[in-house]
Amino acid sequence: MQRIATAFHGSRRTSDFDDTRLDGALALEDDSRVAVIGGGPAGSFFTYFLLDMAQRISMRLEVDIYEPRDFAVTGPAGCNMCGGIISESLVQHLAAEGIDLPSTVVERAIDSYVLHMDESDVRIGTPLQEKRIAAVHRGAGPRGMKEAKWRSFDGYLLDLAAGKGAHLVRGRVDDISLKDGRPVVQTQGGSPQGYDLLVAAVGVNSSAPKLFEKLGLGYKPPRTTKTYVSEFYFGQETVEKYLGSSMHVFLLHLPRLEFAALIPKGDYITLCLLGMDIDGPLVQSFLNAPEVKRCFPPGWSVPQDFCHCSPKINFQAATQPFADRVVFVGDCGVTRLYKDGIGAAYRTAKAAAVTAVFSGVSAEDFRRHYWPTCRAINTDNNIGKLIFIVTRQIQKNAHDRRGILRMVSREQQNPEGARRMSTVLWDVFTGSAPYREVFVRTLHPCFLGRFLWDIIVTTLVAIWPLHRDRAEARMRWKRAP
């Protein structure tokens, strides 16, 4: 750390920067120092892309990532508490960036999901029948794991960032202040370190956002709600037998539950519940539902001791996630509603890195070049809220649920035809497409007409036994080889 302290004292002052070179008055240049607080995906993505782009324009930057956790440790100490799904779109974007997720990190590649409702269930495959969703553990694995067969996803990304030349500081940040307009970071027992840019990638599950509130930058952390994630050990063969390479999602009529999924990993099944203030009784009601029990081996009951957590997730974005020489990326700034949080971390982190390298690090630079990415996510989340209100109504209404099942089943039986409901559900559940795009697709007259027709038919079938028998006979005939 002595080397870093010396480098700071020798670095240029604000007034030395060339104001006319770029949009803003503050800009990074050779030997500028950047502090990234948090080594989760947002911090690692920011560092990786900042250094990658700086190298492309032959700019030398010094980046310190502050991350006290060791992602090689199992259990909560090395985990960022999340369901661990890398969406189809993010897998593709990362591949285009040259980041191919290896099978030493991806515990299970997913090619489909199974939608469970109280009436029945239906399997929906990826459009190309290809494994394009990655199930990972954010840390080295759940508490009590005997053998670490896969690497931590967060650890893998952090190594990529370090491979670009970043310096990892293992200390916990105790204090953040501004001195002459420059951020200063203080760790437990360390000397104060000054920087030209401070990047907050601290998520919403630590007390770190409070360190930034007191700086008087106008930043207010996002509003959050509690979710639930747990890990159940079954071993590879059992996971394969009961869940296969499908993510299992549930549309059940349980109050306060917006979304529930069982995600197959290597030796574990991850249970992920989203909604408003998920608590013990709600978890128990979910696990007792017959649709859920069918996904587990017969006679299985929840073990006495298992790894579980109740992490917070955003439902409203942070206020003012940037200032002169300070920017907030990932969950502590703006993220997507309920889905694809790692995808949002990638988008916000990269937008901030591109701004810092090519435009500048003033509040005005971030407002002009970084904020549009955050605003687009925020706007999309508002549409997402509308979609989830509709989903809640569907969960409550048996006719609507049957209509969905009928529409999806017919689409899956005819792979050559339009897959309107299947793609809408796929994108809502996997977070692969913006909510706006999903919403627009649901307004298509063919979608609405088909859905309405299927609701009418299923309602008639439900109330008219003779018609139901004929319809079932027709369906059996169609399914027959």
């Binding site: 897998v91 515990e107 394009r132 988008r347």
Partner: protein, 131 residues
């Protein structure tokens, strides 16, 4: 069993893209090798062999044309498909995503230049009078 392998597995000799077909996606090789073939009548000319991390099929994404060559698995290989719409939408949001594709294309132009120089040199040597 490679449970974590992303993309689609192609068996030995399986065609991934065929010369002359319309293309609306590109590919990133996740594992194994694929050969790139130019079909001239009944003759097949191997242009190159691609391996893990290489991309192919990107030309059809940008020029909207047909596939310029056939790509076939050499042994078992696994490749991830990148949809045209997903990719170009993201490039519109973040043009820097195209850096790597440009880098690959630029690398291929360099290779082609080298190949052209080699062929021209051979031609000149053959045409030169022997003394």
């Amino acid at each position: 069993m490679d449970m974590g392998g992303l993309g689609k597995v192609y068996r030995d000799g399986e065609i991934v893209v065929r010369q002359g077909e319309m293309g609306d996606c590109m590919f990133v090789i996740q594992a194994g090798q694929l050969e790139v073939l130019r079909e001239e009548g009944a003759r097949e000319l191997r242009l190159t062999v691609l391996g893990k991390g290489d991309i192919f099929g990107e030309m059809a994404l940008f020029d909207g044309g047909v596939r310029s060559a056939t790509v076939r698995a050499l042994g078992e290989a696994r490749a991830l498909t990148l949809d045209k719409r997903t990719f170009l939408r993201r490039v519109h949001e973040d043009p820097s995503l195209a850096f790597r594709i440009l880098q690959t294309m630029s690398h291929r132009i360099r290779q082609l230049n080298g190949e052209l120089v080699r062929l021209k040199s051979e031609q000149t040597e053959m045409a030169a009078p022997r003394g």
